[in-house]
């Protein structure tokens, strides 16, 4: 007969409460891993959206995500003419805050030329931008309804399309608008500033500025060869898609990754200590029963099995409940929680290992209990 199961059934309420407590702890661990995955995926979603092979940026910078990069607006035409480049698109990136339905909304604004590279990877609802001014496509995370209007700078824009999973490295939803609108939003000074500059005799502001050019290459064209060609223009630099993704992950999310990794490691240690203490206490509660079992001739393997099985059951049930809870509440997190089955499976294995190791204290205690203790009266 399985003594572990019988003992659990005997104190089912207490055991389940313990599992629930552990599940919350493991749920936090899962959330941290999910937030990290979400962070990286979100960060990469922005750089992957144009599906480019090459990123052309201002020379000496690693822009447009890791550093500021500003180039003349005609750079796109120059890049498009380089042999091996199939298509190119100019893009701008900026962060704006605006009011929407009485709440402050922070958005990552991407300007691109409709019909060229740089727009959203896919439209989930509605359509893409069709005219040069006044239309935007925004991620559903912004909470803006299709057909609604949103004010950016001095103008109102009509939301014509919605995307999914287009957010910045900071978790802000991405809003796409035409390059001209984005340039005005970013580079056109306020009327008061404009009037002051004119009064000073300053030249009109140059708004035809972009942050990067994304290029798609002809099949069988080596990105490095095109990058070398572009590098001959001293004011331009370039990075392949893989390099840009690497820059983004290493420069922009590296600290967050380390932070979350450290938290996760600390939480795992805390979980291990908690599991060890629970198992130890459960064993302490059964000292007399264990002594009796030993006295009537139960082998050590029976005692060890009792403790190990309970530890594994607690870890397994706690992990299962934790996974369920996190899956249920993942969408309520301010940041995206991306739970990957491989991560969950890996954590499950780690939790089981931790349970086995943590039960060592309880097993040690149990093996030290003398059968004579049962005769103590």
């Amino acid at each position: 007969m399985n003594l572990a199961v019988r003992d659990i059934r005997h104190k089912l309420g207490r055991f389940l409460l313990t599992c629930l407590g552990l599940s919350l702890l493991l749920g936090v661990v899962l959330s941290m891993i999910g937030i990290y995955r979400g962070l990286v995926d979100d960060a990469l979603s922005l750089v992957r959206a144009p599906a480019a092979d090459l990123w052309v940026v201002e020379a000496g910078t690693r822009g447009p995500f890791a550093e500021a990069s500003r180039m003349p607006g005609d750079t796109r035409e120059m890049v498009a003419r380089v042999p091996g480049v199939a298509s190119a698109g100019a893009v701008t990136y900026q962060t704006v805050e605006t009011a929407y339905r009485g709440q402050t909304l922070r958005l990552q604004v991407v300007g691109y030329e409709p019909g060229r590279l740089g727009g959203p990877a896919a439209i989930a609802q509605g359509r893409g931008i069709a005219i040069r001014h006044g239309e935007v496509v925004v991620d559903v995370r912004a909470g803006i309804a299709l057909g609604d209007r949103i004010r950016l700078g001095r103008d109102d824009y009509l939301v014509v399309g919605l995307t999914r999973h287009h957010v910045s490295t900071g978790g802000d939803p991405v809003l796409f608008l035409s390059l001209r609108d984005a340039q005005d939003l970013q580079f056109l000074p306020k009327p008061s500033t404009y009037r002051r500059d004119q009064a000073r005799g300053a030249p009109p502001p140059a708004t035809d500025t972009i942050n990067a050019v994304v290029a798609r290459l002809d099949p069988d064209t080596a990105p490095d060869a095109v990058a070398r060609e572009i590098g001959r223009w001293k004011h331009l630099g370039s990075a392949t898609q893989a390099q840009q993704e690497g820059i983004l992950v290493q420069s922009v999310v590296e600290k967050a990754r380390r932070q979350i990794g450290l938290f996760t490691a600390i939480l795992m240690v805390v979980s291990a200590v908690v599991i060890a203490l629970i198992i130890y206490t459960m064993t302490m509660d059964k000292m007399r029963e264990i002594a009796t079992l030993k006295l009537i001739g139960a082998p050590d393997s029976t005692i060890v099995g009792l403790i190990l099985q309970q530890a594994l059951a607690m870890g397994g049930i706690g992990f299962g409940i934790g996974l369920t809870i996190v899956n249920l509440v993942a969408d309520s997190f301010p940041r995206r929680v991306l739970l990957q089955s491989e991560d969950a499976a890996m954590l499950g294995v780690v939790v089981m290992l931790v349970c086995v190791l943590s039960s060592g204290l309880g097993v040690r205690l149990a093996l030290r209990i003398e059968p004579a203790a049962a005769l103590g009266g």
Binding site: M1, L3, R6, D7, R9, H10, K11, R288, E289, T292, L293, K294, L295, I296, G297, A298, P299, T302, E370, P371, A372, A374, L375, G377
Partner: protein, 232 residues
């Protein structure tokens, strides 16, 4: 009974704790033979060495000196003989405790069956034998009850059923009637006498309970670690 071979034979058994100035002699030069079918009472004040003697005969602790044979198996001969004492306890010794020590997470039947399963019997056979024993001890109607739901007398009878499960040759009882009233104590002692006769087992009962003195075939008294014949 003198013509029978003793089930337990202790010769010159000693037990001490500590060494030098802190040495405490719990038992000194104890000779004891327990024969099949007899119920022996072991009396003595607290700290006299009763429990130590019970633990030694029950193969729970090792003596410091002397010689001990259990059912023909040499257990100690001036030094441990290296036998599997756990298996010996499982197969040949039944224990009855003052507070029954039933496992709270098993019902009465499984508290008995576990001993049989530990000895290698299948679950069905073990439960069948457990039911027979519980019926024999007139607690068959409580076979599915948890220990917490049993009265003191019922729990002690289930504990006796557990002690008898593997048909032990030696039954060691530590204050089995201390928590029972006179009537129930008498029932328990009569059961032990019955088992001793029917299964040719030796029963050694450590007790202070004067109301059961008349149920013993003979009584022994431990005083300052020495064993002497007692009287009821």
């Amino acid at each position: 009974m003198d013509d029978l071979r003793p089930l337990a034979e202790l010769t010159g058994i000693a037990k001490h704790y500590g060494e030098g100035g802190s040495r405490v002699d719990a038992l000194r030069d104890v000779d004891l033979s327990l024969f099949p079918g007899e119920v022996v009472g072991l009396l003595g004040p607290s700290g006299s060495g009763k429990s130590t003697l019970l633990n030694i005969i029950g193969c729970v602790i090792e003596p410091s000196g002397g010689r001990m044979v259990l059912d023909g198996t040499m257990i100690y001969d001036g030094h441990p003989t290296g036998g599997d004492l756990r298996r010996l306890r499982l197969d040949k010794i039944g224990f009855i405790f003052q507070f029954h020590n039933l496992l709270p997470f098993l019902d009465s039947r499984d508290n008995v069956a576990i001993v049989l399963e530990l000895a290698g019997q299948g679950r069905f056979a073990a439960r069948q034998r457990a039911d027979e024993l519980l019926d024999y001890l007139e607690v068959g109607n409580r076979s599915r009850s948890a220990p917490a739901k049993l009265s003191g007398g019922e729990a002690q009878r289930v504990a006796i059923a557990r002690a008898l499960a593997n048909r032990p040759r030696l039954i060691l009882a530590d204050e089995p009637t201390a928590a029972l009233d006179t009537q129930r104590a008498a029932i328990v002692m009569d059961l032990l006498r019955k088992v001793a006769r029917e299964q040719a087992a030796a029963v050694l009962v450590v007790t202070h309970d004067e109301k059961i003195f008349d149920r013993f075939d003979r009584m022994l008294r431990v005083r300052d670690g020495r064993l002497e014949a007692g009287s009821a």
